[in-house]
Structure formats: C-alpha cells, structure tokens
C-alpha cells in the first residue's frame, strides 16, 4: 500500500487481526519518506511483514516512473534501517520453492540445500558454488512469488501509455459496489499470462489502455479468493487463500485501495483439500 496513506490503510486492512504496533507505524511514516529520498523512488509501497521464528521482516518496495518495471525491494528488522535486497532471478525462485518451513528471522541464515535434492547439489558443487541458500535469497524469492501470484489492483487504477510504460490513472474514481464484488474487476499487477489466450470476441471488448493485465476470474483453483464486505459494507476486502495473510482492501467509489501481506511467507499447498 502507498506509504502516504499507511495509517488509514492499516485500519481498513486490519480485519484479519494483523497490523502494526503504534511504534512501527510512527517510525514508518518517516523512514519510508527517507527511503524515497535516498533511492529516488517515485512511489514507496509498504509491502508487509513476514513473520520468522525469531524475528520479523518488514518489507518495502520502491517504484520508478514505470510502475510495471521490476521493483526494488528493501527489508528491515525494525522499520528504521532498511537494506536493499538483491534483484530476483528465476533460479532463486526455483530454488526457494524447494524450501519448506518457516523463515528463521535471521537474514544470514543458510538453508541446507543438500537435503532437498542431492543431484542438484552435486551439480552445483561441480560449478564451484556451495549448495546453500541464504535466507535473504529465499526472502526476495518469496516476495516475488507473492507479488506475481496475488499482488492485485482494481481495474482501471493503472493505464498503459502507448509507449508501453504504466502509470496510475488519475481519472480512476473507484469501483462501484456491484463491480467491487466481482473478481473480474481486479487484476494481477504483473506480466499477464492469460491475456493472449482470450478469444477475439473477448478481446474486442477490452480497452487496451486499462485491460492489459490478467483478471482474477481464472485463477486456479477457483475459489482461492474470498471477497467480503467489512465495516458495515463500506470496505471491500479480498483475502488470498493461496498465500494466507495477503489482504487487499478497497473503498468503493473512492481512490483508496492497496494490498498488504502479514503472514509466515509460506504457500498454502493444502488449498485444494480445504475448499
């Protein structure tokens, strides 16, 4: 969620019981601004918090002029000092998918990769690399996975310019209440996968400036999102069941929206059994 609207946003997304202490909230107001100054970000998003066994990671993302470009991710253990995470590679993501269990809470913790796949470990040894994964790499891979899988925005909130870059839509006034209850009004804010599979008839109805992303309708498994009205029906809250802890809120007919993650950073692989 936008750093500037953090206090109000935390109130709206607190239906799941997770939030930030007043101390963290207070310090985030200033430390995120300083991040913006130091790294020359145009926008700073407070992404959320991953609970480790011994400590928690607070994550922030910085965006440049093109909002769809790969984002810089920073983490902090106390919300005061932030460290930049290395950019994520596909190899990191595949390695991190093998790891199971909670995060430890210590960024320099090394996971034993040999237990998981002996063949890969031997191959890595031949290359001269050590078969260990640091928790930092796992952290950034998990954040990338979560953003790719369940990072969502309302339809119409972002527009694509003819040059290809993506900006916020200043004319976005919010979804109406009926639209806000439908999953098709929300998009994954990541490279679209299903868009080209749509039939020509469907594509004809789309507006290429606002409909350039995948909507949530065709997410697998079906039913992996819960849509609820909270606070007496004034806030629409979407929660992901695949990554438990991701909460998206939107106040219909206003510009307020955002998503935040409070959880353990583990994918819910039991989802098909639980629905």
């Amino acid at each position: 969620m936008e750093a500037s609207s953090l206090p109000a946003a935390l109130e709206l997304a607190a239906g799941g019981g997770a939030g930030l202490s007043p101390e963290k909230r207070a310090v985030l107001g200033s430390s995120l601004l300083l991040l913006q100054r130091d790294y020359r970000f145009e926008r700073v998003w407070f992404w959320g918090c991953i609970q480790g066994v011994r400590g928690a990671y607070y994550i922030a993302e910085g965006l440049g002029p093109d909002r769809a470009a790969p984002r810089s991710r920073l983490y902090s253990l106390n919300c005061v000092e932030w460290s930049l995470l290395p950019p994520v590679t596909e190899e990191m993501v595949t390695q991190a998918e093998h790891l199971k269990g909670r995060f430890q809470g210590d960024p320099s913790f090394e996971y034993e990769y040999t237990e998981i796949n002996a063949e890969d470990a031997e191959r890595l040894l031949e290359d001269g690399k050590e078969p260990v994964i640091k928790e930092e790499a796992r952290l950034v891979a998990t954040i990338e996975q979560i953003d790719r899988a369940v990072g969502i925005v309302p339809r119409g909130a972002f527009v694509k310019t003819p040059l290809g870059s993506v900006h916020e839509n200043r004319n976005f006034e919010g979804l109406s209440l009926t639209e806000a209850k439908k999953l098709s009004s929300y998009f994954h804010f990541t490279e679209p996968v299903n868009l080209k599979n749509k039939t020509l008839l469907e594509k004809a109805d789309l507006d290429p400036s606002t409909d350039f992303l995948d909507s949530l309708e065709h997410d697998i498994p079906q039913g992996s999102w819960t849509v609820q009205l909270e606070k007496g029906g004034t806030v629409v809250v979407l929660r992901s069941l695949l990554w438990l802890g991701l909460t998206f809120y939107h106040v219909p007919m206003t510009k307020q929206y955002g998503y935040i993650y409070f959880g353990t950073g583990e994918k819910n692989l039991d989802l098909p059994f639980m629905l």
């Binding site: 239906g15 019981g17 997770a18 202490s21 101390e23 909270e230 692989l269 629905l275």
Partner: protein, 556 residues
C-alpha cells in the same frame, strides 16, 4: 482605393493560389468574407450527429467549461478523458436515481444494525447505571485491544468497539457469569466473532431440544430400514457381523472440553448464536481434516473421514482444540484449589479446577519473555480420545485398569481387549513442556518494543496454531485468536485414505477353488490305478498283503 487583395469568387484570379500562399495574404481580408467563413464553420460545428444527437459545438463548449471550472493540472494530457466524461455525463442524470437507490441499500441496512448497538435500551433508568459500575462480567475489550495493539495484533479500533458493545448486548440477554472475547475466525463468505462465556451455576439452558431432534431423526431412519427389511423377509441377505466401535460420550457441560460455552456472530450487530457442546468424535475427526469455514453455521462439512456434524460443530471442535493448545497464563496467576484428601483416586482424572491466586507476584516482563517456563496452560489438554478426562467406554471396573502409557491407546479389535488409559499433561504445566515441530519452538516470545523497555509488554505467539497470541504486563494478561482456525503443520496435509475393502466372507478350504485336473493327469491317474489293480491281483495269493491292498485302494 482597395488594392488587389484576395480574389472574390466572381473575379478571374480566384482559385489560382493556395490559401496562405497567395501574394496578397498579408493584406487584411474583407471583413464580410471573414464573417461568412466564421458562420460557415459554426454551422458545420452545430450539425447534429446522426448517431448520438449531440453536436460538436455544444460538446466543445461543455468541455471547455468543465476544464475552466475545475482547472486540472496538465489538462492537455487528460483532454480525451475529459471529453469522455462530458459525454458520459449526458446519460448519467437519467439513470442516476435508480442506480443509487439499488446499490446503497445493503450498506444502509448494515449501518442501521451497527447504530442499534449504540442505542441504550429504553425503559432502563438509573438502576442500570449502578449495575454497570459494579461487578460486571463484561470484559474490558478496549483495554485488551490496547495491549495487543502494542504488539501489532488486533482489529481496528472501530471494530473492537463494536465488538465491545455487542458483548454488552449478549450479557444483557443471557445469564452469564464470566465473559471473554475469544477471538475472530476468518471464513470464506463471512467471519466469526467468538465470545467465551460461563453461565451462572444452575442457570444453564436445558439442551435436550437438540438431542431430541437428532434422536427423532435417527428414529425416522430406523423406520425406513425396518420397512425395507420386511419386504425382503423371504430372501434375507446374511446379517452383517460388523459392530461399530462404542461411541465415547461427550463431557458434561461445565467440565473438560465443554467447560465454556461459546457464542458466535458474523458481525457485531447481528444476533449471537450459541454453539452446541463438542463431542469426542467431533474432535477426533476434526484432527484429521482441514477445511476452511464458510461463515454460515449450517453449512455442511464435506470431508473424508466424514465429519459428524455441520459447520457449527466443526467450529466448536476447532475452538476447543485451539483453547486447549494455546490458552496460557503467567505462572502463579492460577493455583489449584486446596482440596481435602488428595488421594490417588482423584489423580486419575487430573485436577480440572483452579482459582486465582490472591498472592500472585507478577514477574518482570523481561523474565516472561526469556523463558517459556514462566507461562502455564490453564486449559486442560484434550487426549487422543477426544476428551479431557479419559473414559473407558467398556465400563470395566476400576480395579482392572492397566498401567498408564502416555497418550497411546490401542484400538480394540475385539470387545474383550482393554483400552489403555490415556493421560495428557496435567493442568498448569509450563510451556517449556510444549514440543516444537522440527526445529521450530512451539512459542515465539517477544517484547512489544525494544526502545522503551520500562513499559513494554511481553507477547507470545504460538507457532503450532498460527494466530494465537498472549500478552502479559504486570498483573494483566489475556489470550486471543485471530486466524483461519487451522493448526500449522510443516508437512502437507495428507488426508486419510479410505479403509481397505472389507472381506465378504472368511475364506476356508470348503469354499476355496482348486484347479480341476487336466486330461493328462486323469489318464495318468487311471493308468496308475490299473497298475495298482494288476499289482493287487498278483498279490492276492498272499493274505498278509490284504491290508496293503485296502490301503492302496483307499489312497486311489
């Protein structure tokens, strides 16, 4: 005298030069022709479109008016959107009233309900004020919420306050002795807000209504079966020798897993619904399944093994498991009541009552965080059987009980085998006895703030039941749960497999098929018999071998 200027249509030079390039363009044209050109242009702009009925002139005028009124920044970048908005505004007025009325109805109703929480009931005068000030079972939800907020846990203040008022409403309706906000469980369609309640002694509502309903349902099914059996009396299939394992009775209200009564509601403002007491079968089954809650108490729970009940029962079972596993208090806050005659007979059941310790000395917050042995469970743990107090369903006398083995019960195959008694950890065991999973401890302890340790609050989060939290600060402590209602397991959920196919009948030699002898074997047998007969004829002369002949004939 006028110069040669731009040529008029009747002059021969007209049309020779392109407009803008004629040699006389720097001369001011005839004002009349300019006016004519303007009028022509305006007439063109005023032409109405055949499809929409608008005309460009009015549209441009409206657009410019809107821009000048609102004065947005970078107007030139958003000019197309402004144009679209103006066109859209044409239609909005006609459909405005309809859409508004339909859309905002649900939110208005919800707001009415929430407002009703804030109204004081009529007809209660000063008496109520005095009652409120005195001892009230109403917990101070806002105070608890404040402490949890220091750790970053909790709902928004608005919601907490609504829950506070909803609890107050609950207390005014039911005869309640103690009440606590237990927590919130999230669901697919709606969420549950749960209150843990104890009735005044002797004022519990009789729950025979629910039991009667289930019995009648059972009888109905039995009647249908009888009819079917009557029809088949002539050809009765063999009766099944299956005897179902004995049903373990649930614990009495007020003891063990049913010590507290739970009320739930979907949102503050909606009426509170009481959850039925939990049975051991439900707890045993709930341990094997993992399903999301939908938010509707009457929803069926479709699972394998089939859950005996609907979502209300599943919810109650999960609440019982969570309470048993994660309700903790600082050591020394509760103590066992001094009972006369603590003999061995009572140790079997375990002590299940505790009372507040009037001499409780709170430990410092740093000590509470450092070591898990400063916290104890104050809710009885649930045995594998599904109860807190072990019960032998075969009702053997006490003298025949075996020696105890911790939490291992062998399933009886036959009625005559005896069950091993299960004992779990006794009440008030410290958290250091809690096992972790793999290399993760069962609890994570933190201070709420490292910057101001004088006023920090000790916070514990459970790793076995993610979402269960406890805090302690001085004499105050509390537990709460915010989550989806499931236990954490490092491995993936492996549902129980269906049992192996039952054997239809016991196999024995009389019904076992054997292979028929082939032609060669029969011929060989025949040849062997003939040989034996021939041998017998040769030996008929000797009487001693009569017995052998008999034996050989019998062997054939």
């Amino acid at each position: 005298e006028r110069g040669h200027g731009p040529y008029q249509p009747h002059e021969p030079g007209y049309g020779l030069y392109q407009p803008g390039y004629s040699p006389y363009d720097d001369q001011i044209p005839d004002p009349d022709s300019r006016m004519l050109a303007i009028q022509n242009a305006k007439a063109y702009l005023l032409k109405s479109s055949t499809t929409s009925g608008l005309n460009l002139y009015d549209h441009l005028a409206n657009m410019l008016t809107k821009i000048l009124d609102e004065q947005p920044t970078n107007a030139v970048d958003i000019i197309e959107n402004v144009s679209k908005d103006v066109k859209w505004a044409q239609f909005q007025k006609k459909m405005d009233t309809l859409r508004d009325e339909y859309e905002t109805l649900p939110t208005f109703e919800a707001a009415e309900k929430r407002k009703a929480l804030f109204l004081r009931a009529n007809g209660e005068g000063d008496e109520e004020l005095e009652e409120d000030i005195g001892e009230t079972p109403l917990p101070n939800v806002m105070e608890t919420a404040f402490y949890f907020e220091q750790a970053g846990i909790g709902l928004s203040k608005d919601e907490s306050y609504h829950i506070f008022l909803a609890l107050k409403k609950l207390i005014s309706v039911q005869p309640i002795q103690t009440c606590r906000f237990w927590g919130k469980i999230l669901g697919l369609e709606m969420n549950y807000i749960i209150a843990e309640v104890q009735y005044h002694e002797g004022e519990e509502e009789e729950e025979t209504e629910e039991e009667e309903v289930t019995e009648q349902g059972g009888k109905g099914v039995g009647e249908v079966e009888d009819e079917e059996e009557e029809k088949e009396k002539e050809d009765e299939p063999p009766k099944s020798t299956y005897k179902p394992p004995p049903v373990i009775p649930k614990e009495e209200n007020g003891t063990g897993a049913n010590k507290y009564v739970y009320f739930v509601c979907n949102e503050p403002g909606k009426p509170w619904v009481k959850l039925p007491p939990v049975t051991p079968a439900q707890i045993v089954c709930a341990r094997k399944i993992k399903k999301f809650f939908t938010g509707r108490l009457d929803a069926p729970v479709v699972s394998f093994p089939p859950f005996p009940g609907n979502e209300a029962n599943y919810l109650r079972a999960q609440i019982a498991r969570i309470s048993a596993g994660t309700q903790i208090s600082p050591i020394g806050f509760y103590q066992f009541a001094e009972e006369e005659g603590d003999e061995e007979e009572e140790v079997e059941g375990g002590r299940d009552t505790y009372e507040e310790n009037p001499d409780f000395q709170p430990l410092s917050v740093a000590e509470m965080v450092d070591s898990p042995s400063t916290w104890v469970h104050h809710v009885q743990s649930i045995l594998k059987q599904g109860r807190c107090v072990w019960l032998n369903p075969f009702q053997k006398s006490e003298e025949e009980e075996e020696n105890e083995e911790e939490e291992k019960a062998e399933d009886p195959d036959e009625l005559q085998q005896e069950l091993q008694q299960e004992i779990g950890p006794p009440l008030l065991t410290p958290l250091s006895e809690d096992e972790g999973m793999q290399n993760i401890p069962a609890w994570t302890a933190q201070l709420s703030t490292n910057l101001i340790p004088q006023y920090a609050v000790a916070v514990l989060q459970s790793n076995r039941w993610p979402g269960a939290f406890a805090f302690a600060s001085g004499r105050k402590f509390d537990n709460i749960y915010f989550g989806w209602g499931h236990k954490y397991s490092p491995e993936n959920h492996a549902p129980a497999l269906p049992p192996p196919v039952q054997a239809e009948y016991p196999s024995g030699p009389e019904i076992t098929e054997t292979r028929d002898p082939t032609l060669e074997e029969e011929l060989a047998l025949k040849a062997a018999r003939e040989e034996a007969l021939a041998a017998a004829e040769e030996e008929e002369e000797e009487d001693d071998e009569g017995v052998e002949d008999d034996e050989e004939e019998e062997d054939d």
